[in-house]
């Protein structure tokens, strides 16, 4: 279990308007969080300031804006940003607020523009946000109180990781390296494992759920347990895990102070016909890769894995790859095996963000990925099967998206809001023997530790000065 600073040593944190402090909302010893956090406007406002303005936010993938001057509109918390492609690898993230009078500079969701001209009074900006000028130059309508260098669009720090675009407005805050922290080793196995990397197969699905962003996000921090009940049909009906969903609860969950989490599920538990060879050491890594490539990888890419991953990563990737989990604050990562009616096993690769749209509203954004080098036919298959299981119409996730609004609604009742979310299923097993990866590693049946670590990160940011 991660250590948390005992309450008594923490400075009492800023109070909400009704006098409640963050410490009142979360019981660090009992591992409980007041349900009130799932609908409260004041807490939400504080989150926008303390979390979404401070931490790294996933905005998309560079393959969505492949050409110079391509752009797309995305959200960082409740701030809207323009993501633009400059020359080569340059990607800019700019606040979509005109420095003149606050109009949206970009009103279209995507396109290609070398100059972004505000439709209100015509101030113009480069793809990197620099101010170009205002109409009627001789009248100097932008004034001369501020130099032009101060009249550009507000820029965020940008980091490309495996082509994923992350941004942060807190320019002297946490580095991206610190953001990924010791969990990077695991994410590299998914996002940085092949020569040409992943591509988004198209723009993301976007839809609205009447639920607080945290109902979905805390689940993404590796709530394996809910699968048994909420997604019971996966075993009973769809033949996932050969019908034995409970067995897929076993594995190793990795997590850290970053609040990120991944569930590494052994292939031998998932597919019994492979169990012997995978578990007893009779198969080499190469043979295992041939038998069951990790989700999204084709046999042709196997040699590439070796150049990008170290031996320990490779060994884990074949035996128990990280399959589902999340990244703090609002990302779900899904690289899962989906058994097909014809007996084959297809790997699905998808990311979601749960963007806050108010205390009781979130936008579910769903990207579907494939390795750039995957054959077109495989990409189409991945797109189709992923659409069938995840996202808007996804048969798995339609049940999740129907659950979260109920939690949000319950968080509003005078009785309900005082109730607590409980994370008291604590892993008591020792770290698995010979576990080569970094971070905390919880062995055995899926427990609440990863999600609790997510809340500890939430607490840390919410109480930061």
């Amino acid at each position: 279990m991660l250590e948390s600073t005992p309450k008594s040593q923490k400075p009492q944190t800023k109070a909400l308007p009704d006098g409640t402090t963050i410490d009142d909302l979360i019981d660090l010893d009992m591992r409980e969080v007041q349900l009130r956090v799932m609908a409260d406007k004041d807490i939400y406002d504080l989150e926008m300031e303390k979390i979404f303005s401070k931490t790294w936010i996933l905005l998309g993938h560079e393959s969505e804006i492949p050409n110079e001057a391509d752009f797309m509109i995305r959200d960082m918390g409740t701030d809207q940003v323009i993501v633009t492609r400059g020359k080569g690898d340059e990607v800019n993230v700019l606040l979509n607020v005109c420095p003149h009078r606050g109009m949206r500079v970009c009103t279209a969701e995507a396109g290609n523009k070398r100059t972004h001209k505000c439709i209100y009074h015509g101030w113009a900006f480069k793809t990197n946000g620099d101010f170009i000028g205002s109409p009627v130059a001789k009248e100097e309508m932008h004034g001369n109180l501020r130099p032009k260098s101060e009249l550009g669009l507000k820029k965020a720090k940008v980091e490309l990781y495996g082509g994923l675009i992350f941004a942060n407005f807190d320019t002297d805050g946490q580095t991206f390296e610190d953001y990924l922290g010791d969990m990077k080793w695991y994410y590299d196995m998914l996002f940085c494992r092949t020569d040409r990397g992943l591509e988004a197969l198209g723009p993301p699905q976007r839809f609205i759920i009447d639920a607080n962003w945290k109902t979905a996000s805390e689940q993404a921090a590796a709530d394996g347990y809910h699968t048994i009940t909420l997604h019971q049909w996966l075993g009973d009906f769809a033949g996932f895990n050969e019908g034995d969903i409970e067995a897929s609860m076993m594995g190793v969950e990795v997590t850290s102070k970053t609040g990120h989490a991944m569930r590494c599920q052994p292939v031998a538990n998932k597919f019994k016909m492979l169990a012997a060879g995978f578990a007893d050491g009779s198969l080499s890594i190469e043979e295992k890769l041939e038998l069951l490539p990790p989700p999204g990888v084709t046999k042709e890419m196997l040699s590439q894995l070796k150049t990008h991953l170290d031996d320990d990563q490779l060994a884990l990737l074949v035996d128990q790859p990280p399959q589902v989990g999340g990244m703090f604050p609002n990302i779900l990562v899904a690289f899962i095996y989906a058994p097909q009616p014809d007996g084959t096993i297809l790997g699905l690769t998808s990311l979601h963000t749960y963007t806050p749209r108010g205390p009781d509203k979130l936008e579910f954004t769903n990207w579907i990925f494939a390795e750039k080098d995957a054959p077109e036919e495989l990409k189409n298959k991945i797109r189709k099967v992923t659409t069938g299981l995840l996202g808007t119409s996804g048969m798995i996730e339609q049940d999740d998206s129907d659950t979260w609004p109920h939690m949000t609604r319950n968080a509003k009742g005078p009785m309900g809001r005082e109730f607590t979310l409980k994370y008291q299923a604590i892993n008591s097993l020792p770290r698995p023997k010979d576990w080569a990866g970094p971070a905390e590693a919880y062995d055995g049946f899926t427990k609440d530790d990863t999600q609790w670590n997510w809340w500890l990160r939430w607490y840390e940011l919410m109480t930061a000065e």
Partner: protein, 187 residues
Amino acid sequence: MTAHTPTSQSVENTEKRVFFGTDLYNKITETLYEEAMLLDELRLEEWAEFLATDLIYKAPLRLSVQRAEQYKSIVHSMNHFDEDYSSLMGRIARLTQTQSAWAEDPPSRTRHFVSNILVWETDKPNEFAVKSNGLLTRNRFEEDRMQVISYVRNDILREVDDKLKLAKREIVFDMAVLGTQNLSIFL
């Protein structure tokens, strides 16, 4: 460039039009009304009989792009629905045969409104291109508001043994960001 509306059919193409009031038009219209009734009454197995076994059933994404780029406003590379006959049958089976399809249990109360039906003949004598506007109202639990979803459908209906079957459907939504928590219902 002209702004594309989501159809390849031309209004001027009167030669191929199947006009309002003709027997065929009436039959197609009634079929779409019957389909709406089956969906609203949760008679999914009966709805399945209306589906051709080579059905392609898709709902492309929408993007809010400028008028000059309207051809990009319907995104075919990514969909809200990306189905064929057998995957749709899987969905129907999940909803009707499992005890844990929670997204529709309790079921949504829906009303499918179908209007503005236009029909064209195609190159195949027994297949017709049918365009219709759709309005879905959806209510769950004790919600005090209706979800309202509007769309246009571009269908191919095929007449086999005097019965019309759905051979192709494209559902084009009017929302770029869909205002519903999921599509566990059919359109």
